[in-house]
């Protein structure tokens, strides 16, 4: 019995908690991608770097707040700096929309032109971030580190396995849930949110109903910027901030959006968790888990790991390919690419 509990705690500690927080981060990122796809009708390759920009802006504000001695311990100061990060990212997104995407919108360019333009924007944002803060790894988390420490958990339960929950993980899950609820409320209940959905659903009819396309575009970019800045900051707090890792997040985030059904907000969330859980379960080494469950003589010799963590991106890639082959509309029947 104790062995079974230990095995379960082991899984919770190394699979469930990390995948939940990583899944929340992916879901927020995929939501941004899916909103751009649904309303503006292109795949935004700049989204990963937009997240890096948001995290960077939040970090700069965090440092400034720290130097001024302002904090909200035990929570990280970055939480207080988030509004600044969101505002800066919104300005960046709307600025790029004015300078780049609006031109192509007026010319009614095909989606592929927008995609290529977004690759250009990606390189530019990438450059801005590296220019301002450099390509290195940075930590900006402060305040308490843990909600639950492994040692405390062991003492409390008497089990030999500990469960660790970091503040950043708990915060990620809570903020993501609140944000998703707020976004759905906005899209389902408010006049502006409904106008956005109408515009995404049938652009011509939305125009015939008197919906102002300029306003819809502005609101969309603001929402996307907020999602990107928050997702970027949460990821940076949880892992660490390194511009290149945000570019790498593009693949799992797109996979999440497509698996869930691109253009469908609910799909982005489901997709985020599907990708996160697949990645974590496939790359986890189950040796110890089986050691608890099997008789001593059967204890596995190898690591019992399906795939080395170095290959974790292959997981999203395989899921992406399989979904596109088998069910291109994704779980929630989004649009086909």
């Amino acid at each position: 019995m104790t062995d079974l509990l230990n095995a379960l705690i082991l899984l919770a500690n190394f699979v469930l908690v990390p995948a939940l927080s990583y899944g929340s981060q992916l879901a927020l990122g995929a939501l941004g991608i899916t909103l751009v796809y649904g309303v503006l009708r292109f795949s935004n390759f700049a989204h990963g770097d937009t997240m890096a920009f948001g995290a960077m802006a939040t970090m700069l504000a965090t440092w400034w707040l720290q130097s001024a001695g302002v904090g909200i311990a035990p929570l990280p100061t970055a939480l207080l700096a988030l509004p600044f990060g969101i505002a800066a990212t919104a300005l960046l997104c709307i600025g790029f929309d004015r300078a780049v995407y609006r031109y192509y919108r007026r010319r009614s360019s095909p989606p592929v032109v927008f995609v290529i333009a977004s690759v250009g924007v990606m390189f530019m944002v990438n450059g801005i971030v590296r220019f301002v803060i450099g390509p290195d790894d940075r930590q900006f988390a402060d305040g308490a580190r843990f909600i639950m420490r492994a040692r405390d958990f062991k003492e409390y339960t008497g089990l030999s396995e500990g469960l660790t929950i970091k503040v950043s993980q708990g915060m990620t899950i809570v903020i993501a849930a609140a944000l998703v609820a707020a976004l759905f409320w906005f899209l389902q209940r408010t006049r502006t949110g409904k106008a956005m959905r109408a515009f995404a659903d049938n652009e011509e009819l939305a125009l015939l109903s008197g919906i102002d396309p300029g306003r819809v575009v502005m609101v969309t970019w603001t929402l996307v910027a907020a999602l990107a800045a928050i997702a970027g900051t949460l990821y940076g707090l949880d892992k660490s901030f390194k511009p290149f890792t945000y570019f790498q997040l593009l693949l799992p985030m797109f996979a999440a959006a497509i698996v869930g059904g691109i253009g469908q907000p609910a799909g982005a969330i489901a997709g985020g968790f599907v990708i996160a859980f697949s990645e974590v379960t496939v790359t986890y080494a189950y040796k110890k888990f089986f050691a608890y469950l099997l008789p001593a003589a059967w204890e596995p010799q190898g690591l019992m790991q399906l795939l080395s963590t170095d290959y974790k991106f292959a997981v999203s890639f395989i899921i992406l390919v399989v979904v596109l082959l088998v069910r291109p509309t994704g779980i929630f029947r989004g649009r086909t690419l």
Binding site: R191, K194, A198, D201, N202, L205, A206, L208, S209, G210
Partner: protein, 234 residues
């Protein structure tokens, strides 16, 4: 006196002119129908009135004001409502949300208008929480119609409202169109089912290659042997 008038309209979608001097007018409390063979420019004429294509020549006026230079959105704000032939509902939104979107520009209470639409199309009240994409063709047409009415229009323009619906639904729709006309709205529609449409029309236009070929009251056109012979199949 016509309320919405397009005079001597010339224009097309960039290439050769599709409209070659066509004139259309409709008064409030009146139904005007545009009929004609395929490719005559019926839908194009309606789109020209709505501002969806640029006129090379001619003018459009609404209630005496020249609106030739206005965008479609500005014309919608002035009281023109248009029901496209296809893709005329928001498929992922509920019936009620579709109607709300129709009233997007209105800042006054919309419940009263919505009540009127529900009275006109009782099925919509029943299905108000269902996504419009899940409805049958005839029901969708009613949603599209209702969405346009929610703007509180002075002119209602319908592009082949009965395309692809059963004869029973067609009679039903025409009945509703008559009711809307009786509230003082100017109704302009393009129709394939020429005979039935002219039957309820106060005014009819027969278009051929972008020009007015015949015009008159619906009854006159139906009685005209030339129109009967060439367009109504004898």
């Amino acid at each position: 006196m016509s309320f919405l008038v397009g005079e001597n309209m010339h224009g097309g979608y960039g290439g050769a002119d599709i409209l070659r001097g066509c004139s259309i007018g409709v008064a409030r409390g009146e139904i005007a129908v545009i009929v004609g063979p395929n490719g005559a420019g019926k839908s194009t004429a309606m789109k020209a009135l709505l501002g969806m294509l640029e006129l090379r020549e001619g003018r459009v006026s609404l209630g005496g004001d020249d609106i030739t230079a206005l965008t479609p959105q500005a014309r919608v704000a002035r009281g023109l409502a248009f029901v496209p032939q296809t893709a005329n509902v928001f498929v992922n939104m509920t019936v009620r949300e579709n109607l709300e979107m129709g009233a997007y520009l209105r800042r006054d209470g919309i419940e009263e208008t919505m009540e009127q639409v529900f009275e006109l199309f009782p099925i919509l009240r029943e299905k108000h929480a269902q996504p419009a994409g899940e409805l049958s063709g005839g029901q969708r047409q009613q949603v599209a119609f209702g969405r346009a009415l929610m703007t509180g229009p002075s002119v209602l323009m319908l592009d082949e409202p009965t395309a692809g619906v059963s004869p029973i639904v067609m009679d039903e729709l025409f009945g509703r169109i008559l009711e809307v006309r009786d509230t003082g709205v100017a109704v302009l529609m393009v129709e394939q089912n020429a005979r039935q449409a002219l039957g309820i029309a106060d005014r009819g236009y027969v278009l051929v290659v972008g020009e007015n070929r015949h015009a008159g009251s619906g009854a006159e056109l139906l009685a005209d042997p030339k129109v009967r012979k060439s367009f109504l199949g004898g």
